[in-house]
Symmetry: C2
Subunit: 454 residues, 2 copies
Amino acid sequence: MPDLQHVFAYVDAHRDEFLARLFAYLRQPSISAHKHGIGETAEHARGLLERAGLGGSRVVPTAGGPMVMAERLAAPGKPTVLIYGHYDVQPPDPLELWESPPFEPTIRGGKIYARGVGDNKGQHLAHILAIESLLASQAELPCNVKFLLEGEEEIGSPQMPPFVAAHREELRADLCVISDGTVDESGKACVRFGVRGVLSFELRARGAKRDLHSGHWGDVAPNPIWTLVQLLATMKGPDGRVLIEGFYDSVEPQTELEKQALALMEGDPEGIKRELGIDAFAPHPGGGVAERRSAWPAFTINGLHGGYGGAGSKTVLPCEAFAKCDIRMVERQSADEVWAKLRAHVARHAPSVELIRQGSMDPSKTPLDSPYAAPIQRALALTEGEEPMLHPAMGGSLPEYAFTKTLGIPCFGVPLANADEANHAPNENMEVERFFRGIKTAAAVLVELGQMRP
Amino acid sequence: MPDLQHVFAYVDAHRDEFLARLFAYLRQPSISAHKHGIGETAEHARGLLERAGLGGSRVVPTAGGPMVMAERLAAPGKPTVLIYGHYDVQPPDPLELWESPPFEPTIRGGKIYARGVGDNKGQHLAHILAIESLLASQAELPCNVKFLLEGEEEIGSPQMPPFVAAHREELRADLCVISDGTVDESGKACVRFGVRGVLSFELRARGAKRDLHSGHWGDVAPNPIWTLVQLLATMKGPDGRVLIEGFYDSVEPQTELEKQALALMEGDPEGIKRELGIDAFAPHPGGGVAERRSAWPAFTINGLHGGYGGAGSKTVLPCEAFAKCDIRMVERQSADEVWAKLRAHVARHAPSVELIRQGSMDPSKTPLDSPYAAPIQRALALTEGEEPMLHPAMGGSLPEYAFTKTLGIPCFGVPLANADEANHAPNENMEVERFFRGIKTAAAVLVELGQMRP
């Protein structure tokens, strides 16, 4: 593959320059939760796309943070790849735990430390720099390419579904590639075919109009904590099975390929227990750790609060309590469908309890035998020197359903960051060599896709 | 009953003096929770007993707040009555809600406002002043009398059981009379034959060694809130029945007399709902409000806390949670017995959950047909002008089991305070006329008991 040798050589020859471009991008704070620096960073990102040789680079306003778009569609008959990333970052708090300032990128021990280096500036910049490296080495890109960078991923991507739906034509592509998150915990590269969805909600129970004395009113006035306990107990059994009626109905069984991939993902359960400091895993109707995280929905109580929480005891019957929960969904559950079942369940079992819907994202999954999977795997094998692992889905959530469901195209996760990138935490980092290898991988992906038979 | 006419006339003639004595007692703060003024108030109470004509008045040290004792045993062949009260009071917080300072007694609208006036200084002082009024009107008391005033009732009477057990001979009596709490909510006087016991405890659950991301670890690492929810759901059913194995085994069925009394106590359930601001009572396997409060145990979650409690949502899997609970027990349950059943239940259903015992008091009940009941009822009928109600038990807890179980004597509650005394709350109060009528009632009780046939 002589083309790629030139590209890789270009990347190697421009390390200092590319690093400088990454550092300048990282120095620009873009904290969506605080609406800080979003507009400036969108413009900065647009400039990066333009400089790489992409056309029509533009900042597109939305009801929230703007989208940044650009494309190069000069490879007729070749696949069109939509590359998604996000230029916003998590707040850097707690600041005092950072060893170097979050918006002053610093290299220590072969890693670049900065907020957003892995999540996600360094990862989508690798794709942008791959375009520049390809164009420096050959006349034209091997595929058609569209970029979509959003500015509110860290606050749940609220603009993504309506934006993608409204710009269906503009975003039309054959597949989507997303570099976010990390390689496998073993350090091996992976291709991720899906994400779980998430639906957050709150349950609020009320008792009497004021706190009461437990001796006088216990088991006479309703206790909102007991109300929540009894309701929650109807929603999940002691074996961990979710008992909301019809909850598992639309869960798509794993394919044989997915089962094989999951089996290969199962690491060392005893090691995981040690790492987490637990004696046993949570009760669960399913199987191993990877299977639970990828192939099963999960129902987590994020918090439950009511009544006395101080030292010692207090004989109080509290008047209110609430539980905050999230449900992770797998293909083909949907947030609207689970919400409807949840509402019906609460109405049937505890009609006095208020149910409040919070944010949601639908799950997404691309078949492991998609025709675009093999070229992407080959690209990773080339730059990584070994076959990538296949992850049917990750436990967390990303707005990939906007691509797979709204646009109807397959979506591939090609994470470039090291497993200990500490995203969302202090001292977020990305290994220097993974950044450069990421540029090469991004170029190789386009070259491999360009060689597909039409 | 010519004797009592003289006594009542003496009370009427000494209203100002008696009120002054009450006010001086109320001005003396005695907050056991803060160990504030306990020693001084014990000495003050001893002086009140001495001045009333009781012998051997003494302050007896314990490992906690001292006991104050005195007696007059000059009625051979007559019953010996042990009169119990407590000279400590609740903390006055929140101070800003008091309309007059808590330790500066003030009369407004026919009520004395001061911390401790109803709970319990005004009530046991009525008994002390009854002794003085009787001795001023006749040569000798109609009964033998012993006083025991403690200084830690508001923090759970931890010294009472060991003290009573160690002073069994000194405290030997035929019956115990306690004036604490309030008359019936209707305003009618009542005789209370029992109290429920209480056992407070805490459940602590732990998950991983740190908070985790719900997308990555939900339903993989144990969720301590789910652990508590599942455990608590095994302890009480949706119908309100406590499911701890053997929990109801030792509950003594209500006698016919008790059933009749409970039926008369049932007030206006709709009015109670309105007062509490509830649409329905808590699920319960038993009957009406009075029956629930007197004849059934109750299991209250006082507080449950774990995980995120802020605004919006947070996809966190928390690492710890706790529940604080109290169980109210009825005759013949005991705190040790319920504790043993609780421990066995938690060990069986959630062995990883830590169970921490906090304070407890056993229940107590005296038969409604005790031979001492009729004279006490007659005394109340005389001073109140109507037959008192009979309360088999109140929902709250008092250390009466030290008398009924350790000393083996019947124990009668003769509450003198108005139903809206606001004990434990700001603006605690006692109606002026109830204080004076209380002195007369206390005298009448001794006269009636003195007229019993041996």
